[in-house]
Symmetry: C2
Subunit: 222 residues, 2 copies
């Protein structure tokens, strides 16, 4: 079957930059392409937007297909539509980014045939299309949002220690933070609260556990 229009129409895709923190660094989920163009190249997960599907739903569908997760943080990033960014036809991609807590990232379920891998954003392989630019844009956005929102909590499970949260901030901001100042600051925001529970990790004092006051919600701060 063919679909015809009086004027040429571009194709519209969504690509999604899925972030997690693993191995003490920011990582992104990539797939290895099976077909040309850019066969064997690494690329962002993504695909065509169905004609009767909202953009955000398309991005959620991709996210779920690649990671098996839902109900994680998802935000529209930017729309990349330069002519020539895909050699086959005019393709405009609405890029999204997602933040997946690291305890949920084992099951890369439902991914189709291509290889799928978490890769550190600071040492990426050659990427298909303009996906390097998309990832760089997403990286800037998520780091910037760490400064003025509670997005960092989205990298962690429902309960976490203050040290874990501090590590997330340090990775996103690429700078070391003072432990006492960090604790004073994060607690003064009233965006997380102690659960009362503790966690024993190793041969040292157990840590108090905290949880977001408003889970799933990214609040603006300052």
């Amino acid at each position: 079957m063919q679909y015809s229009y009086a004027y040429p129409h571009p194709a519209v895709t969504t690509d999604i930059v899925i972030f997690t923190i693993q191995h003490s660094r920011l990582e992104v989920l990539l797939i290895q392409r099976l077909k040309d163009p850019f066969k064997d190249c690494w690329a962002l997960p993504g695909g065509f937007v169905d004609i009767d599907e909202n953009l955000e739903n398309a991005a959620m569908r991709e996210l779920c297909e690649e990671t098996g997760v839902r109900d994680v943080y998802l935000e529209q990033l930017f729309t990349f539509g330069d002519t020539g960014r895909d050699p086959r036809e005019r393709v405009i991609t609405v890029a999204y980014f997602a933040v997946v807590p690291n305890h949920l990232l084992q099951p890369i379920a439902g991914s189709d045939a291509a290889a799928v891998a978490w890769q550190p954003v600071d040492q990426l392989p050659a990427l298909a299309f303009d996906h390097d630019r998309i990832i760089e844009t997403a990286r800037s956005r998520v780091s910037a949002k760490a400064r003025y929102s509670t997005i960092a909590c989205q990298f962690l499970p429902k309960e976490f220690t203050l040290s874990e949260l501090q590590t997330v901030y340090e990775i996103l901001l690429k700078e070391q933070l003072d432990k006492r100042n960090f604790r004073k600051w994060i607690l003064s925001l009233n965006c997380i609260e102690a659960t009362g529970a503790m966690r024993r990790n190793g041969q040292h004092r157990p840590a108090r556990l905290y949880t977001p006051v408003d889970p799933g919600h990214v609040a603006f701060i300052r």
Copy 2:
């Protein structure tokens, strides 16, 4: 001539929210639609993205057609693509916003037949499609950017007085500012500098003129 595809393709448009400050308020450029759907309704300027035209070029083209200006601040805002937002076919719109200095806004040149008018963002008529939501998104963005960038300078001509700049901030932020504190703050940013020239406006002391250190560039501050 017909253009055929193996899968259905959405149409892609750009709509552009063109802001200026006039009559001591934030205003936006609207056009009155000549045809259905939403005949006679007010709407944002915009139109289809040519198949061999970059998105930003499409937005610049619209801006230039509607206002005759070029080389003003233009930024991608958000992509609105809900199914059903256009009753004719699936239309995904990449929205941009622009800031036009008020001394350039007389010549609404080259606009095609429909009525064109500047309207205050706080008293808008009923709008076509989801254009009310687009304008609200743009309004939030420009106000937020006033707090952490030098975008306010983009509303003014190359040379302006500190009182004029303060008025722009007050309109964007919807709050009164203290004159002495504003001057101390804006000068400490080193984003504007005195030209040495003065301007006589009325029957009072002439004002020093200032100009952006890096004209055309919107710097992040704080």
